[in-house]
């Protein structure tokens, strides 16, 4: 009885080990199961999903115009102070003073890509870009000003 149990254990153990080795052996002999994406080589074909959140950008059209009115809704919506909007007073043609953005400062180093600013924006001025290659040697490069130099507010956006 003891011997039966003893050899039974050995038989079961060896069988279980061989079953395990069969799995690794299968993958060793079936190299087409490898689905590795070779990142830097596939950069041309690598496309992120549309909703993927890489960084906040402010789209500008051909006339160097953006849609940001400087309402600071995003700044309030941001949970961790990533966005800082510096505004200036601009005198319009009809003599009225109007608030316009001077600099849309975006701290990529603080950003958690939570999308709350994009949701909060009433005029769709900012969107999430799919770019993710942000590595830098210097932290200072991560502080970005999103509005381009000399850009203006698009007509009809209030």
């Amino acid at each position: 009885m003891f011997l039966k149990e003893y050899f039974g254990t050995i038989y079961k153990s060896i069988k279980s080990l061989l079953v395990g080795m069969k799995v690794t052996g299968y993958y060793f002999t079936h190299l087409d199961e490898i689905k590795t994406e070779e990142y830097p080589d596939n950069r041309a074909t690598l496309k992120m999903f549309d909703r993927f959140r890489g960084e906040v950008v402010m789209p500008h059209d051909d006339n160097n115009e953006h849609r940001c009115t400087g309402c600071q809704a995003c700044e309030i919506a941001c949970p961790n102070g990533t966005i800082k909007i510096i505004t200036k007073q601009e005198i319009l043609e009809d003599g009225k003073k109007k608030k316009r953005i001077d600099a849309f400062v975006y701290h990529l180093d603080l950003c958690t890509m939570c999308n709350l600013c994009v949701v909060a924006c009433p005029s769709d001025a900012i969107v999430m870009a799919q770019n993710f290659e942000h590595s830098v040697y210097d932290k200072k490069q991560l502080k970005k000003i999103l509005n381009q130099p000399d850009s203006k507010l698009m007509q009809g956006v209030e």
């Binding site: 395990g20 080795m21 799995v23 690794t24 993958y27 060793f28 490898i34 590795t36």
Partner: protein, 364 residues
């Protein structure tokens, strides 16, 4: 060219010997020069072998883990291990302040020397053996356990608790598994009637022991593979390193070149163990022969003996590597249970079986 065509290393050795004898007349000097050449070429061979084994291990692991493995450094990533070695050599080789500095620096050297010494009696090809010592098997089993001294030394001198635990585990492990290794070696010694590795290979002229000796030899082969995997501290028996438990085990404090030496000795050990298994059970360099079928045997002889030896060795290396990348690690007490409750009793009974078989001539 002629030398290469005959695939005989002995003629190469003779050629070099004659060449040197013409240059150097003093016989003692000649002997020393030849030894130095031999030593240097052996070390060079082992280093290249370790490069290859390291590359092989990473590729085997990668393919089993459905990934590609190194493929960007050199063609197909083959220079990866060269880069690793160069980097390790150039890394700051620090010694911890509170370590026993002499022993700390000595330990990796002992490990490497211990594992390199075992190479001596192994026949790599027909008539190619450094030293066919007449107690080859005894020598192999004696010298291969030198490594544990290095591990104990490394673990103790590092002044690190993880290292110490790893070294103690390794001590217990190697002392116990030495028994099973020895017993399974003995079963072949009994069958072939010689302790010399050269004689053992020649005794398999009409068939390898694993075929001739059928079940008992297969059992001792399996026991040898398991026990020697444990003896060279490879997973699933890598108790001395046990990364998840002891971070690095005995080599936790080692960096740079000294760590590279541990890696070197690990791979040499792997090669040695597989080479011994191939020699004893699979006929070493002996081609696949079946007793009585002279025509078949003759065809098999066309494949060079070194190819036979290395293909067998690498088959066993592959199996040991597959163990590592498949199985979970044993616990330290289960490790000893396995040895004392299973391997040792079975191999003891098995030795008796083999002896009876040898006396009665039941093998082929």
């Amino acid at each position: 060219m002629k030398i290469l065509l005959t695939y005989s290393f002995s003629s190469l050795a003779t050629y070099i010997h004659h060449l040197l004898a013409e240059l150097i007349t003093n016989s003692l000097l000649l002997q020393v020069t030849e030894m130095v050449i031999l030593g240097v070429s052996l070390i060079a061979f082992l280093v290249v072998l370790c490069f290859f084994l390291g590359y092989m291990e990473r590729k085997v692991a990668a393919f089993m883990e459905i990934r590609l493995g190194p493929n960007r450094v050199g063609p197909k990533g083959s220079m990866q291990i060269v880069a690793d070695t160069l980097k390790l050599l150039l890394k700051e080789g620090l010694t911890p302040d509170s370590a026993d500095k002499f022993l700390f620096n000595l330990a990796p050297v002992i490990m490497v020397i211990g594992s390199m010494m075992v190479i001596a009696p192994i026949a790599f090809a027909k008539d190619f053996q450094l030293y066919d010592i007449n107690i080859g098997v005894l020598y192999v089993s004696a010298v291969s356990s030198l490594g544990v001294i290095g591990i104990l030394m490394a673990g103790w001198s590092s002044n690190n608790k993880y290292s110490l635990l790893g070294a103690m585990r390794s001590g217990a492990q190697i002392v116990s598994y030495e028994l099973s290794v020895g017993l399974s070696l003995i079963s072949i010694v009994v069958l072939s009637g010689s302790l010399s590795l050269g004689d053992i290979v020649r005794s398999q002229e009409n068939g390898w022991w694993i075929i001739k000796g059928h079940i008992p030899v297969i059992i001792s082969f399996v026991i040898f593979i398991i026990a020697s995997t444990a003896e060279i501290n490879r997973a699933p028996f890598d108790m001395a390193e046990a990364e998840q438990e002891l971070t690095g085990g005995f080599h936790t404090e080692y960096a740079g070149m000294k760590f590279a030496m541990f890696l070197l000795s690990e791979y040499i050990n792997l090669f040695v163990v597989s080479a011994v298994a191939a020699t004893l059970f699979l006929g070493g360099w002996m081609p696949f022969h079946i007793g009585g079928l002279d025509g078949f045997n003759h065809i098999m002889d066309f494949i060079p003996s070194s190819v036979w030896f290395f293909s067998k060795t690498f088959l066993i290396i592959f199996i040991i590597m597959q163990f590592r990348w498949t199985f979970p690690r044993l616990r330290v007490d289960q490790l000893l249970t396995l040895e004392w409750k299973y391997l040792l009793p079975i191999s003891m009974v098995n030795v008796i079986l083999v002896t009876v078989m040898a006396i009665m001539g039941w093998h082929f």
